[in-house]
């Protein structure tokens, strides 16, 4: 299946992991070199993922570790969804790493970069693995490194947020482990395809409890409504690069995990309706909480929460269209929110305050950053010609296509939430452009900070104008993501 060593998808995990371990060592030699390591790793990952993408669109690749055939060994399932996520992770990782060159200066720099790589490794591992326990391990790697990174600044807020995040997150992880225990107790295997194959043979309350445990456990990371209290704290207190990664990647990985488990293991059932409702509730609560925030990063964090709700809703519609829309929205949110956090990172860095009022008139003082921020915001609201419009459009389309009254009501609520979102975001735009600045002097933005943001902005506009770029990939991904039987078939080779 895999022709040469350099095309092996395992490298997507191995390379960053290896680099992560080398980072402190290299740090001992030369400290300045450390910050280029993540760039290297992510560049490699991005290239490899892009290279693999056309291949996996036709046939997902199965990689078995240690030479055993599934279900006896840990295997990777490198499907379109996995590669799509992997592209997103490496893209955002790369851009954030570039941003980090000049942004992360204080503190234990080599540890930052190590944890940063570990986080991305964990994320990539989760989306590629085909083994439930392996998924858990990668999940823990992701979580632990993000706990640590949230506290990176070691200020009061960062530590507090990290502590709270840690307690909630590890409780969630404990639930996942418990769920894995249940599944193993019932099926005696940890391979997802194997469990999926046998799941219909068992009818036990334990099965459902396991599902509930998974939803709750991953739900903490995915910021489902009552489980998301850590999110605004952590996202607003972390360094902005980390906020970008957390908002752009980590929470999506949580969502991926939930739905991978649900789609593949448990198949479609009534829980999706519940999840759709919960998704919309999350959306509403998130947007409403963001409405009156005065702290710019908290606004963005709450908005992420809302967007998570939207994505959960889309993925729970339970049709290929819905999943395609949900994946599209994930891309939208990844690009837009990373963009926003990176922009805000620089704004906060320059003005030294996270209050909305400190952004007064920044449009004049840092025009390019403000412009890109505006693009990100418009995209999140779902205005054409930015990427948010086609993604929201496809979600609504998918929802209404079902023809169910419940979904109609949910979509109306979702649109209401969009209105709220629009209002507070437009308010911020006004603050940026239409309030008098305190000072006149302009900020000079270093190129390394500007470059990633510009790339994200260009992507947002390009895909927004021509969403056909992604259409095929998304539809194919959605099909494979959704189809349990073909998953089993692919893993077991026919």
């Amino acid at each position: 299946m895999v022709s040469t060593v350099w095309q092996n998808p395992v490298l997507l995990i191995v390379v960053p992991l290896g680099l992560a371990f080398f980072t402190p060592i290299i740090g001992l030699i030369r400290k300045e070199l450390v910050k280029y390591i993540p760039i290297l790793g992510m560049l490699f990952n991005l290239t490899l993922s892009l290279f693999l993408l056309p291949k996996v669109l036709d046939n997902p690749i199965i990689v078995s570790l240690s030479g055993w055939k599934p279900p006896f060994a840990i295997n990777l399932f490198v499907g379109p969804v996995g590669i799509l996520f992997s592209i997103l992770i490496s893209l955002v990782g790369l851009l954030t790493a570039i941003y980090g060159i000049n942004y992360i200066k204080k503190g234990a720099v080599e540890k930052y970069h190590m944890l940063f790589l570990l986080l991305l490794t964990g994320a990539t591992g989760i989306v590629l693995t085909g083994d439930i326990f392996n998924l858990f391990v990668f999940f823990e790697i992701l979580c632990i490194s993000s706990y640590a990174l949230v506290a990176y600044n070691q200020d009061k807020n960062g530590i507090e947020a990290a502590t709270k995040y840690l307690i909630q997150g590890s409780l969630g992880s404990a639930f996942i482990l418990l769920g894995i225990g249940f599944l193993y107790g019932l099926f005696g295997t940890l391979n997802m395809a194997d469990i999926a194959r046998n799941i219909t043979t068992v009818d036990s309350p334990a099965l459902f409890i396991a599902m509930a445990l998974f939803i709750t456990g991953f739900g903490v990371e995915a910021a489902i409504f009552p489980l998301n209290a850590w999110l605004p704290d952590a996202h607003s207190s972390a360094p902005s690069t980390i906020s970008a990664i957390l908002s752009g990647i980590a929470i999506h990985i949580g969502i991926y995990a939930i739905f991978r488990v649900l789609y593949t293991l448990f198949g479609f059932n009534s829980i999706f309706t519940v999840l759709a409702v919960i998704g919309i509730v999350t959306l509403l609560i998130g947007e409403m909480s963001a409405f009156r925030q005065e702290n710019i990063k908290r606004v963005l964090a709450y908005s992420s929460m809302g967007q998570m709700g939207l994505i959960i809703f889309a993925l729970s519609i339970g049709t290929v269209d819905g999943i395609s829309g949900g994946l599209f929205q994930i891309i939208t949110h990844t690009l837009s929110k990373s963009l926003l956090f990176l922009c805000v990172g620089y704004m906060v860095y320059s003005t030294n305050s996270m209050e909305l009022s400190s952004l007064n008139g920044l449009g004049k003082r840092m025009p390019l950053i403000s412009l890109l921020f505006t693009i990100g915001v418009f995209s999140l609201i779902g205005l054409p010609p930015f990427i948010g419009f086609p993604s929201k459009l496809s979600i609504i389309l998918a929802g209404l296509k079902t023809g169910e009254t419940l979904f109609l009501i949910l979509i109306v609520l979702m649109l209401l939430a969009t209105v709220i979102e629009g209002v507070y975001f437009f308010r911020i735009i006004q603050i940026l452009y239409f309030k008098e600045p305190d000072k006149e002097e302009r900020f000079k933005t270093p190129f390394t900070l500007l470059f990633p943001v510009i790339i994200l902005g260009l992507l947002i506009v390009a895909i927004g104008i021509y969403p056909g770029l992604l259409q095929e990939i998304l539809d194919r991904s959605a099909e494979i993501f959704w189809d349990k039987l073909s998953y089993i078939k692919i893993v077991f080779g026919g």
């Binding site: 391990v137 632990i144 840690l166 404990a174 418990l178 193993y184 107790g185 605004p232």
Partner: protein, 119 residues
């Protein structure tokens, strides 16, 4: 009584978990909460071990002669637990480290007072 006898290990495992959950949810002291986290993890580990356990089983070592494969305990949960313990250690260490830092900032471990971030 019979039920209790056959399921006592499950009860033990879940009991530990619930104690832990109680501590996390109710105790005001951050350290106690972290201890509670430890309890939960321990309970889960115990649970995993129990799943793979066979009464009067032997160690799952095929190379060693004289062991009946049918009576071997399942090795996979044990591997899982080993991994989980490692993870737990990491988490607890991080948690305690953070708790120390937090104490440095707030001069208290009462979580009701540590509410700098809210709303």
């Amino acid at each position: 009584m019979d039920f209790l006898y056959h399921n006592i290990h499950f009860i033990g495992a879940f009991g530990l978990m619930f104690i832990g959950l109680y501590m996390i949810a109710v105790k005001k002291n951050l350290i106690k909460k972290i201890i509670g986290l430890g309890f939960v993890e321990t309970g889960i580990n115990l649970f995993l071990i129990i799943i793979g356990y066979i009464k009067n089983g032997t160690a799952p070592i095929f190379s060693k002669a004289g062991l009946d494969p049918a009576r071997m305990v399942d090795p996979v949960p044990q591997a899982l637990v080993l991994t989980a313990i490692v993870i737990n250690v990491a988490i607890l260490a991080l948690a305690l480290g953070l708790a120390i830092r937090l104490y440095g900032h707030y001069k208290t471990l009462n979580v009701e007072k540590i509410r700098g971030l809210k709303w």
